[in-house]
């Protein structure tokens, strides 16, 4: 073979040529740009327009931000320092920092209390969010609502202690009877809790708040971003059990229960949150006993909880519907009754499916807590629009304040949604 080739072919190369570098248009950044930015003429035009837009935005925003003033005490002073140059007046943030976070009525010497409660929040929700942490930490999570209440509102220590005692009594009763009969354990637990609260309430003297070691702070003094956080955390955690109950009720085979749940859910989902807040501010008081005073914060918590419970119920209903029918039938064939099957088989799986939806509702709800500024509560947006922009010193500092609020909400909401994506990957037990 090689002999014939030697005679018939003039020249045959016997060794490989050394590899050459690819042409500079086929490798490195140039190739990347050609593929990803200028693949077609239309794409090229899009890229150029986008670059121009980005340049326009950065060229006006960057000098404004970098040239910002952080240390003056009023807008006029700020303008004097800037002396005609472009620059932000961030000193409104440093000067009004406490007001933005805690509102303008919370006693300034007590700022450490909500601050500490905020720090402890992370300790409390850590075991809920990350399963690798020791389970013992959940005990602290259970105690946290009472600690946080005591820290933020202060007053007589008896109030959170009695509330805690009631919850413990209910939980103990439930634990010891649930194995025999769920309804007995559940209803008995609720009754035990109420009895404990009633008896405990007798031991708290009337003027306890005035002589308390921790000074009592009325709810109307809460404000700023603290109010958004408190509304968001409280309402989401309260609306979860309510939402589960509503979702189960809507799937129930009992027509009356089903109708009640459907009407409730559709009604709440059909009206905007603002009208529900109007209900809280002007209408709900009519439905309480005549001589009772339920403060605005509590009324708003009730309405927002009800609002988000309806949305969470729909998400969980989706989870229940997505569960294969075999799971329900499997539970039946094992001889589990409704309560056992729901508790042990259905809900754990349905809730896992619904986690992304629940997180979406939670993020939406947290954003919606800004609406309370419409019914003249001074949350972060309410503080900005009300006391701060109306003050003579800072009248006209829009962008710094609104930008600060936007950044704060972005950080929290983006963080939550990133966590939810991580959790989804973590919980994915199916093989893809």
């Amino acid at each position: 073979m090689s002999d014939t080739q030697q005679h018939s072919v003039a020249f045959v190369r016997t060794e490989a040529i050394p590899e050459r570098e690819p042409p500079y248009t086929a490798s490195g950044p140039l190739k990347w740009m050609k593929d990803n930015l200028f693949a077609t003429p239309f794409n090229g035009i899009l890229t150029i327009v986008a670059v121009y837009l980005i340049y326009m935005i950065l060229s006006s925003a960057l000098p404004w931000m970098l040239n910002g003033i952080w240390t003056t005490s009023s807008l006029a002073e700020c303008r004097t320092v800037l002396d005609g140059a472009v620059g932000a007046c961030f000193s409104v943030l440093t000067e009004r920092w406490n007001q933005l976070l805690f509102g303008f009525k919370y006693p300034s010497e007590l700022y450490w209390r909500p601050g500490l409660a905020f720090m402890l929040l992370f300790v409390a929700i850590a075991p809920v969010l990350f399963f690798d942490l020791p389970r013992k930490l959940l005990i602290f999570t259970g105690l946290y609502p009472f600690i946080a209440y005591y820290l933020v509102w202060g007053g007589a220590i008896g109030v959170p202690l009695v509330a805690l005692a009631g919850c413990v009594a209910g939980a103990v009763f439930y634990q010891s009877f649930v194995a025999r009969n769920f309804a007995l354990g559940f209803l008995g637990g609720v009754i035990a809790a109420f009895v404990t609260w009633y008896i405990g309430g007798l031991f708290i003297p009337d003027g306890a708040n005035n002589t308390a070691w921790m000074r009592a702070v009325p709810s109307r003094d809460l404000g700023g971003f603290m109010l958004n956080m408190m509304l968001g955390v409280t309402c989401v955690s309260l609306s979860l059990p309510l939402g589960i109950a509503l979702a189960l009720g809507r799937q129930s085979s009992m027509p009356l229960i089903k109708v009640i749940c459907v009407v409730f859910i559709e009604f709440i989902r059909g009206v905007p949150l603002i009208t529900l807040l109007f209900v809280a501010s002007v209408m709900l008081a009519y439905f309480f006993p005549p001589d009772s005073t339920v403060d605005l914060f509590l009324r708003v918590v009730i309405m927002i909880t009800v609002f988000s419970a309806a949305y969470i119920a729909e998400v969980i209903r989706g989870g229940l519907a997505a569960l294969p029918k075999g799971q329900y039938e499997g539970a039946d064939s094992l001889g589990l009754d409704y309560a056992q099957a729901t508790r042990l088989i259905i809900l754990p799986q349905a809730l896992k499916i619904s986690i992304p939806g629940i997180v979406n509702v939670a993020v939406g709800l947290f954003k919606d807590t800004t609406l309370v500024s419409v019914i003249s509560m001074f949350d972060l947006v309410g503080m900005i629009r009300g006391p701060i922009l109306a003050s003579t010193a800072w009248n006209g500092v829009y962008w710094e304040l609104l930008g600060f609020a936007a950044v704060l909400f972005f950080v929290v909401c983006y963080g939550i949604s990133q966590y939810s994506q991580w959790l989804e990957r973590r919980l994915a037990t199916d093989h893809r």
Partner: protein
């Protein structure tokens, strides 16, 4: 040979109400009914006691009393002497107006951003991801306030457009962007303008008829008629012809910088609150719609695109004939619920002083008359009607596009 007999019938015992699954559901429902009646009765008795204590009576007579406040932005005639009911109707129309405008624009933003986010262009897709994340994660209330602030604090006052030698000039001689809103031309309908409009409507019907015919020809003979330029021609030519044949009956009333020393006169004005609300709702909801569109397009399996190219369809034809019809089935239900969200979020108009139903009935009327319960109930009824009708439409649509499985 054994025969099966029914087990002896148990006589009914009281404990079976709780232990026997045949009767238990009745027990539970009875308990629920009693609790419900008790709760409603309790709330009603509280309500009546509170009303009696304050000397109030429920009733809707206040709706016919004169409202006594002015509304700038309105679609129907209204003066401060009109009744509260008419103010509420003005509010309803304003709500529907801003909701419709915002739905249109949000769809445009959302579809553009959703499609561009899947673009192969790295910069564009990153930019769109940035847009979606920024707008989804910041409350819509803050966006409304930011855009309203841009409208009122950055735009020049109308005075800068006035006089012989104004500081700012009308854009194209037609539009003035001021801190009170946008001034633009208004049409003047002359004699014979009805004919022009009739021709325009007829040509639109003609376009649909032609497209139907083209589709019919395509399906029956496989021959493809052009649709692009005939559509354009049908849209423009007959109307323009009619316009000139009738002697140019439709004129434009332009904003006039010289007519008045304090404000622009003539033309139409769209108030700053409406624009702020419209734009903020559109750009915020657009970010959500973008995600829906992206999810819908990605839900169409890649095999469909590949099969279409294997059949020899070109990319834009693949998109129009294969991917989009399947993606729309996934996109439209969440899209409609976003429209519902826009309608509900338009209640935030009260923040920028746009006179929607929440600001008129739930705001000024409520504060003036003190009729909290009636006003809030009417307000809820309105939104509930809108939501339920949109859900009904959505259910009809879902049933019509649901996969017909064997």
């Amino acid at each position: 040979m054994t025969t099966l007999t029914d087990p002896p019938l148990e006589s009914f015992r009281l404990s079976m109400l709780f232990n026997d699954t045949r009767y238990r559901s009745f027990t539970f429902q009875a308990i629920a009914l009693v609790l419900l009646v008790f709760a409603i009765g309790y709330l009603t008795s509280n309500l009546l006691a509170n009303l009696r204590a304050q000397g109030l009576q429920l009733g809707f007579n206040f709706l016919s009393e004169p409202a006594g406040y002015d509304i700038n932005q309105r679609l129907i005639d209204y003066t401060s002497q009109s009744s509260h009911a008419r103010a509420a109707i003005v509010g309803v129309l304003n709500t529907l107006l801003v909701a419709a405008l915002a739905c249109l624009m949000a769809t445009v933003f959302g579809v553009a951003a959703g499609v561009l986010r899947l673009s192969k262009n790295w910069l564009i897709s990153k930019l769109m991801a940035f847009y979606v994340e920024i707008f989804r994660n910041i409350p819509v209330l803050i966006w409304i306030i930011i855009i309203f602030t841009i409208m009122t604090a950055v735009m020049p006052g109308p005075r800068s457009y006035l006089g012989e030698d104004p500081e700012s000039n009308l854009l194209l001689g037609l539009f003035a962007f001021t801190n009170r809103g946008i001034y633009g031309p208004a049409p003047i309908w002359g004699a014979g303008s009805g004919v022009v409009i009739a021709v325009f409507v007829a040509s639109i019907i003609g376009i649909f008829a032609y497209r139907r015919y083209a589709k019919h020809v395509l399906y029956s003979s496989g021959q493809m008629l052009p649709t692009g330029w005939p559509t354009l021609a049908l849209l423009i030519l007959p109307t323009v012809l009619a316009f000139f044949m009738m002697g140019q009956p439709i004129g434009l009333d332009l904003p006039d910088p010289l007519a008045n020393r304090f404000n622009l006169r003539g033309g139409t004005q769209i108030g700053a609150p409406l624009i702020a609300l419209w734009f903020a709702l559109s750009i915020y909801t657009g970010a959500f719609i973008a995600e829906n569109v992206r999810a819908g397009i990605q839900a169409v399996s890649k095999g469909q695109t590949e099969a279409a190219s294997a059949l020899g369809l070109r990319p834009n034809r693949t998109m129009n004939l294969v991917v989009l019809p399947q993606a729309l089935r996934v996109i439209i239900p969440p899209l409609i619920s976003q429209y519902l969200n826009i309608t509900k979020n338009s209640s935030l108009a009260i923040v920028v002083g746009y006179a929607d139903i929440t600001a008129t009935l739930g705001g000024i009327t409520l504060n003036q008359t003190g009729r909290a319960i009636e006003c809030v109930l009417l307000l809820m009824l309105f939104y509930l009607t809108i939501s339920l009708s949109i859900s009904a439409v959505m259910n009809v649509y879902n049933n019509s596009v649901a996969l017909k499985e064997r």
